[in-house]
Symmetry: C3
Subunit: 156 residues, 3 copies
């Protein structure tokens, strides 16, 4: 992969996490293109081949629904999040498609100011490298922790 394509992926990832951490969740589904696949699973499930995992969405409507449910469940603003991503590794390339893996850490800032680590893991992404930008086609979020109750909420 040339440096220019690599930079496009990095910038697309930066915009994605900025959207979530800015709490602009209604814009989040627009980051997905083409097959529009979004999955969340745990490392343990992924190792066992259970990729379906905790969350599965493959239409933009399902992503929109997730945001609506999240907004209804969380009437009061209680906490915020901060994503910090590592550098992506290019796993494979085929035509204009690139499969990447990117480590992430999400910090959670509670109402009282306390900050802890909410989730860590890796994104398995498929991007289409277009003229001007890299477009996210698929994201499988593999969370390191198997304690998943609280992971059902926020887009990762």
């Amino acid at each position: 992969m040339n440096d220019s394509s690599y930079q496009k992926i990095i910038r697309a990832q930066a915009e994605y996490v900025r959207c979530i951490d800015d709490d602009r969740l209604e814009e989040w589904p627009n980051f997905f293109h083409g097959p529009c696949l979004y999955r969340v699973t745990t490392a343990a499930n992924f190792r066992d081949g259970l990729e379906g995992g905790i969350i599965f969405a493959n239409t933009k409507g399902m992503l929109v629904d997730r945001v609506s449910a999240l907004r209804e469940a969380n009437i009061y603003e209680r906490q915020s999040y901060r994503h910090i991503l590592g550098q992506p590794s290019i796993l494979s390339e085929s035509g204009s498609l690139a499969k990447t893996e990117t480590p992430f850490l999400v910090a959670r800032i509670l109402q009282d100011g306390d900050t802890d680590i909410y989730a860590t893991g890796r994104y398995l992404d498929v991007y289409e490298i277009a003229q001007q930008e890299a477009r996210l086609n698929e994201r499988t979020v593999i969370c390191d922790s198997s304690r998943i109750d609280t992971l059902l909420a926020l887009p990762l």
Copy 2:
């Protein structure tokens, strides 16, 4: 923005945090150029338009004073810090100036070895892209947490 300018910004940010984490605080004011604006505020204040926030400095002298005060207040070495930055997003460009937003996480390492998350948030920066480097003109640090007492100390 071309990749080369983007790389200059990334490298300038890396040098900035390295200076702080190396405890070379006396060099920190030299990272600011031109308007030399440094502000720290909270996400809640920033949302309410209270950008003045917690810390405001717009001359190099004010930055130097901050470091002096910090050194006097902390005679004994007690803790160290480690900044981890995410990728910058380019918000706008105008001539040689670029406005960027960059997520950050700062870990604090206490004397007894315990490590916690000291602060998370985002930098709103203005850089002048020069021939050899990107020069920081303005930095507004927006901390996610509203618990600000301990945030008055370290440059962010």
Copy 3:
């Protein structure tokens, strides 16, 4: 350093941490080339010129031995790790060799799902910039914390 060489270093670092976080420790020694120097020390020791520090290895065999010892000591899978790296700073260049410094944070995910900060610090690396890739020749890991007992285990 040109952008292309800088990108090679970033990609080499991404592959390195991915290998460890994937628990493919047996592949880890292959990331070292040439002098094959791997050291772990603390910031306090490093400041005092005690670079030898906690761990010292300068042959691939010593690295292989470390992994074997680690596997024997940890029969049961108990925890996993996630490295998040910041951007490297280029400290110096000489011919095809480049000396860099890179901040890191390692999160530890315990069996029960709790996640904490395992270690923070910086890598002092020497890379050989080859045609296709950057090859790690030396890595000195300088941990911010001086509480070192648990640091003896995992490759950093």
